[in-house]
Amino acid sequence: MRNRRWNWLVIPMLVGFATIYVPAIVSFVLISFHPSTGPGSVGPEWTLGNYAKVLGDAVYQTGLWRSVALGAITVAGSLILGFPLAYYISRYSSRFAIAVFTLLYVSSLTSIVIRGLGWITLLGTTGPINGILQMLGWIQEPVIFYGNLLGLSIAMIHYTLPFMVLTLLPVMHAIPTGLEEASSGMGAGFVATVRRVVVPLAMPGVLAGSLLVFAMTISAFVIPRLVGGLTLRLTALLIDQEMRTTYNYAIGSTLASVLLLLVAVVVVMASVVGGRSRVAR
């Protein structure tokens, strides 16, 4: 029962968004079409030169590809860790399963800067990870985790894992256990049941979680800055550098527009996937 009399209540927020939020988004996109005329200023003429530079220059290209690669590695990692975990939480109601579920929430809400601090030590050359690997005799020399995608992706998987699992969980819960019982009752092993029953039915959740984690990773800033470092030249770090160090607003805004477009495409894909899975149910 919808009624017109409630409509006016949307006006304050809508006006606020129309006068501040929309102009803020529009302003940096507009700036990306103007040439830089020195630190903190752009010229009045219109140009596509910033885009030509950002898409043509090796530094920016590398940054973009590294961001995409980091996104792909992080999606794979959080899926490998998260899929069995989501299955476990959805199928068992032990105290431990509930504790892990709680831990996921607590972890996702813990300060991101503080988690970054933790990973700096964990991934250090004398840190606990290298210590354990050396104790086991798997490595002789310490592994360098700082300033490369290896260490950064471990920290990013930690950051994104709760979001992956919490996206997978409702889909896992919706798979009737009767299907798994039927499958194993007819002689399929656990692995075959998972591969032929659980995975196909969980696919909408896998896709939605993967797209969410990918969008989060390519636009992440704090962990890449603290754990990856500037030498990685990820797009998010280049944006920060252009905006706050060299004050090249034109290039910074162009990089931000490219990143926003990329995230928007992923978000739209996710909503299409989400819409389709709702229809299927």
Partner: protein, 299 residues
């Protein structure tokens, strides 16, 4: 919420004949410990950075070496005052942003859930969109907008509390909107309509009928909006160029320039306080964010 393990080992009689029951049970008995072990591994992975922050905070050396050569609580005693100032600014900013977001987003949620807005889907998508836009991009957007305002009007909004307040309010408002719309979708509009029909005005209907019903959802939205605002570095970093910084930004800058055990001590205090708040909220107030997509925070 979860299905007891025993039901998984009770196949229907019609298909049970194919595999000997003993073998089937043994196989299922294997699955559970393996999955539990996996979950334990992930739990250790999730906890590791938090535990290590505590261990680092009680080491004896000024520079962060692992493992520490001795133990000391010294770093908790020499936390510089600007961290306390930062904490006060962060709490003040988060409270102001969440309060403003509530004033705007709760009525808007009413209109979207109950009204007959033309272009409702588009308005809904617009008002929810800040949560989809990366915090870093929001920072760039507000910085460029504020610079534009300064160029056009001479008014400086950058480096001011008002500038931060506006940006944080917009960034966290979808948390409240989403919570209210989701809650209202699950209770009949006829209650509001009845109150209205009996002569209560829209304001009285809202405060007497609607608000008590949506308040758990609003409380949950408030809580998560507060956490997101408090911890926001990627937006704030563009809007504070000099002067007082928020707490997470102070840790962020010091970590970048002069990593010491002091940041780990501050980090431990913040983690203990926030974990306590989160557990209290989850266990006793039963607050849970309404959907996975609304929880995109961090940075």
């Amino acid at each position: 919420m979860a299905i007891p393990a025993s039901s998984a080992s009770a196949p229907t009689a019609s298909v049970a004949g194919h595999v000997p029951a003993a073998r089937r049970r043994r196989r299922l008995d294997m699955v559970r410990p393996v999955l539990t072990g996996w979950a334990l591994l992930v739990a250790v992975f999730l906890l590791a950075p938090l535990i290590i922050v505590f261990i680092d905070s009680i080491g004896v050396e000024q520079y962060v070496v692992f493992p520490p050569g001795g133990w000391s609580l010294h770093w908790y005693q020499v936390i510089p005052k600007y961290y306390l100032d930062g904490a006060i600014l962060s709490v003040g900013l988060a409270v102001a942003a969440v309060a403003a977001a509530t004033v705007f987003a709760v009525p808007a949620g009413m209109a979207i859930a109950r009204g007959s807005l033309p272009g409702r889907a588009a308005i809904d998508a617009l008002l929810r969109s800040p949560v989809q836009i990366p915090l870093l991009i929001s920072g760039v957007a507000f910085l460029q907008f504020y610079v534009l305002i300064r160029t056009l009007t001479g008014v400086t909004v950058t480096d001011s509390f008002v500038g931060l307040w506006i940006a944080h309010t917009i960034v966290v408002s979808p948390y409240l909107l989403t919570a209210v719309v989701a809650r209202l979708a699950r209770y009949p509009a006829s209650l509001d309509e009845a109150a209205y029909g009996l002569g209560a005005g829209p304001v009285r209907t809202f405060f007497d009928i609607t608000l008590p019903i949506i308040s758990p959802a609003v409380a949950s939205g408030l809580f998560f909006a507060f956490l997101v605002s408090f911890d926001n570095v990627p937006t704030t970093v563009f809007l504070i160029q000099s002067g007082k910084t928020t707490l997470p930004l102070a840790i962020f800058y010091d970590t970048d320039q002069d990593l010491s055990r002091i940041q780990y001590a501050v980090g431990t205090i913040v983690t203990v306080v926030f974990t306590t708040l989160i557990l209290v909220a989850m266990r006793w107030l039963r607050l849970l964010p309404s959907s996975a997509s609304a929880r995109r925070g961090g940075g």
